[in-house]
């Protein structure tokens, strides 16, 4: 179809052009980034604490000032003017450059931290050294590349969170939700783990040390959570350690199912989660870039559910491999002591087997109607694979998952999913594939919560009778690539496993058609919803299948 040559028609013009405030604030923010860049190239700043403060403040103030310049003088309401004209947000040159820069950053972060100045021996150099003062202030330890990343991540969520709130100040759902993600990132992901590190070796932990633990980051998003070294750390850190281990199990098996039942997976994905937090704030400018085609949806379903199967198998193998050892060694008063696990490998495998069978059975018996044919086949296929492999493992038990060593499976997962997918592609590709690539195609947590959201939750997006005019704003701004309009124009509620409940479809709807709500299960998924305003007899006829 024809498109206009916007870039020619609108050069330097509103709504594409930046006003003076936006230009100056961009300059300020870039100055902050430039300081970090100089540090990367080993410019040795004399007073690191001061320069780090200047840099972070410049970035933070730059973003907040930019927001004020962009939205402050305008009346409250939807602020999407020029989104598809701006190079950064419409796959233009700036978008690609930003994508490449971010991707490069992630590659260095994950695979070449020494370029950032990480030193195994002796003091840090480069940008990591710049962050040492802050790290020492919080946890007492020198910084790592992850501390640098975590700090920048938090500053980004904080600053762009303020931008998002400014942009959506007319919408209290968005305001409250954003305050929530900013809080969980700052407190749970950033500060608490650093403070927890201060407890290491203290009496409250019985002299033990806690593993790094972002409390809201549950398995399987935190795929390492039940690894042997962490379990040992938990078990040797007194009641607090044991409590945290129990909390880790409860979060995925008890707390999250209850909350997802009551509120849908949004309670996590767009209210609490750190990945979601960054996507909703710093990534908000890119939400319209997600692919809405049916073909993308088909790819999404297979990829994301394969990741769940992958992580499940890997975790079973990892847990089983240390359970098989029967226990672990600790130093007590200078003597080595063997502590036995109370859970045997056999019990664990049989238990897992039973749990998976139970879930599969429940779905097939009670929810089969709600799954499409290919989803049923997929479910059966995955189930058979998991059981076969678990069974194989049980009877064979050589530390292999089928033909592969547990350790190498773990490594592969960490590389492919943990680093490449969630980091490099998931965030690096924001300006190219949209801000929820990871959440949509890769996150196993999102898949599990989504599975429950689709089948057993009170959450839905209600469609308001016959008011839809098929304009397409909802679909365009859905970061998860859901074709919201396809449902809304039929008068059907939107009950999709991928929906993270960000609420933006409802916000951008010009006719008040969409409402996120938690209501009774009965009638939640109703593909025969009437398009109101019609003659009732006609609706009966139209709904005949």
């Amino acid at each position: 179809m024809s498109t206009y040559d916007k870039s020619m028609a609108l050069t330097g013009q509103p709504p594409k052009a930046l006003n003076t405030g936006q230009k100056l604030s961009t300059l300020l923010g870039m100055t902050g980034l430039a300081i970090l860049l100089l540090a990367i190239f080993n410019v040795n700043f004399p007073n690191k604490g001061l320069w780090l403060t200047i840099s972070l403040l410049a970035i933070f103030v730059g973003v907040v000032w930019f927001s004020k310049a962009a939205y402050g003088h305008k009346l409250k309401g939807i602020k999407n003017d020029g989104v598809w004209f701006k190079s950064i947000s419409s796959l233009g040159l700036l978008g690609w450059l930003a994508g490449i820069a971010l991707t490069g950053f992630y590659v260095v972060l994950y695979f070449y931290p020494e370029f950032l100045g990480l030193a195994a021996e002796g003091g840090n150099t480069g940008v990591i050294a710049l962050f040492d003062p802050l790290s020492r202030l919080l946890s007492g330890n020198p910084a790592s590349q992850w501390f640098v990343y975590g700090t920048l991540y938090t500053v980004a969520i904080l600053a762009f969170g303020i931008k998002f709130i400014w942009k959506y100040r007319h919408n209290r759902y968005e305001v409250v939700r954003t305050i929530s993600v900013v809080f969980f990132q700052t407190a749970f992901a950033f500060l608490i783990p650093e403070f927890m590190a201060r407890l290491n070796g203290s009496a409250v932990l019985s002299g033990g040390k806690l593993p790094y633990y972002d409390l809201k980051n549950m398995w399987p998003l935190n795929y390492n959570n039940f690894e042997g070294y962490r379990i040992k750390d938990f078990l040797t850190s007194g009641n607090i350690g044991l409590g945290l281990l129990i909390f880790g199990v409860l979060t995925i098996f008890v707390i999250s199912p209850i909350l997802t039942y009551k509120y849908g997976k949004r309670w996590y994905c767009s209210w609490v989660c750190g990945c979601g937090g960054l996507a909703e704030t710093a990534g908000d400018s890119f939400r319209q870039l997600s692919d809405k085609k049916v073909s993308a949806w088909k790819v999404e379903r297979w990829v994301i559910h394969s990741v769940v199967v992958f992580v499940t198998l890997m975790t079973i193998a990892v847990v089983s491999s240390y359970l098989k050892a029967g226990g672990y060694w600790v130093q007590v008063d200078g003597e080595k002591q063997f502590i036995e696990y109370w859970l045997s490998n056999e019990a664990f495998l049989i238990g897992t087997f039973a749990l998976l069978t139970l879930i599969f059975g429940w779905v097939m018996l009670f929810k089969r109607k709600e799954l499409k044919k290919d989803a049923q086949y997929g479910a059966i296929g995955y189930f058979v694979i998991i059981l076969a492999l678990v069974g194989f493992y049980f009877f064979n038990g050589e530390g292999n998952i089928l033909l592969f060593k547990t350790a190498s499976v773990k490594k592969t997962y960490g590389f492919l999913i943990g680093s490449i997918f969630s980091g490099v592609i998931g965030t690096g590709f924001y300006p190219i594939l949209g801000n929820r690539v990871w959440c949509r195609f890769g996150c196993p947590m999102a898949a599990i919560l989504g599975f429950q959201q689709r089948l057993f939750s009170r959450f839905r997006i209600s469609t308001n009778g016959g008011q839809c005019i098929s304009c397409g704003n909802c679909s365009t701004y859905c970061e998860m690539g859901i074709d919201v309009r396809a449902y809304a124009q039929k008068g059907e509620n939107i009950v999709r496993s991928s929906c993270v409940g960000c609420g933006v479809c409802s916000a951008v709807c010009p006719r008040g058609v969409l409402k996120l709500e938690n209501g009774p299960l009965e009638g939640r998924i109703d593909s025969n919803q009437v398009l109101l305003g019609n003659d009732v007899d006609l609706m009966d006829l139209v709904n005949q299948k």
Binding site: A9, N80, K86, N171, N473, S506, P510, L532, D535
Partner: protein, 453 residues
Amino acid sequence: MEHIVIIGNGIAGVSAARHLRKLSDKKISIVSAETDYFFSRTALMYVYMGHMKFEHTQPYENWFWKKNRINLVKGFVNQVDHANKKLILQDAPEIAYDKLIIATGSKPNKFGWPGQDLKGVQGLYSKQDLDALEANAPNKDVCNRAVIVGGGLIGIELAEMLRSRDIPVTFLVRESSFWNGVLPSGESNMINEHILEHHIDLRLETNLVEIISDENGRAKAVTTDKGDTIECNVVGLTAGVSPNVDFLKESGIELGRGVKVNRFLETNIEDIYAIGDCAEQHEPIGNRRPIEAVWYTGRMMGETVAQTICGNRIEYKPGHWFNSAKFLDVEYQTYGWVFAKPPAKKEFEQHFHWRHATEKICITVAYHKDTKKFLGINTFGIRMRHEIFDRWLTEERGVDHVVEYLKDANFDPEFYKHYEAEILAQYNTEFGTHLQPKKKSWKRIFGKASATV
């Protein structure tokens, strides 16, 4: 195989095609000169504003049509030859049909203003109008000012569009207040204020006299009946629309302002039907106008005519009236009938109006002054649940019931402020009643009609 040909690929024609396909295996063709694929006309404004690309306004992916065996023909129909059951197209081969559905929509009104056909003068209805606007008003340097003539829904949309590119806009409105032929005065006044807030130069009770041409045949200014001359580069004519039926003048198909149809959407010629904006009912249905240029009615007529053509001849029977729009930042919804002034507003119709002290939020509830029967509601800045109002209208609830149970009808996003208590407090003061607001109840909302008692 019977060949059903539809002229027009808007919501009415496409709804008809989709439902014909659902119900039958007939051969279906859609002819359009406007675009290759169906798009949402109401979304054109967002393309100019940069909220969406044009592709985003297309509700179905391009493979949809082939998959559903709906044959798309690009071409302009010059003539309908009903004696030989064929269409004569400009620059394209003739098309033979067994049954014909006319769904050609509307065109912007022009009232014979001097200069109305100059360059830079345009309406806003079609994809071509959008393209023209992109050429006429790409930015504020090329277009130093635009004048919009006609204070209705399209006029305010056009103003919003131009303002998104910082183009100064003068808005000529014939009436004493914006859209006050439809909106009661409280609401109309609130929108006046909102228009001014957006730095739009609103001129009420002002008519266009003439559009003045420059030496190249391009509009350079307009004069008004107030004696003002306003320099401008673009003139938007948005004084309503009328059926796009000129090509049928010699066809023998009975025309009024639109294509005359009976309740079965049949024209005077056998096997020819008309639906959507271009259809004109012989007799108005209820309080409706004989021509309804509304998205939803186009869709409903499409669904209805598909039934009839597939052997289940049924009348077009629209349910309770509803509509919605957005005035700049203020959303508007209406359910049932709220009339602004006589003659539409009958002597028995009375209004209860509530407006927020500072925000652009208000409602107007119409009721029968003797029986207190609820007639309709307009809401601004509060979303309402269609299903609940549709039910209340069917059940012929009283106005007391509506204000008492208003929480059931609220459709605003979660965490929004609620105004039901404030509304009810004012209602109690005005009517001397002591009603208490009822808590929202899922049981009532999703229950059957009887559960609401």
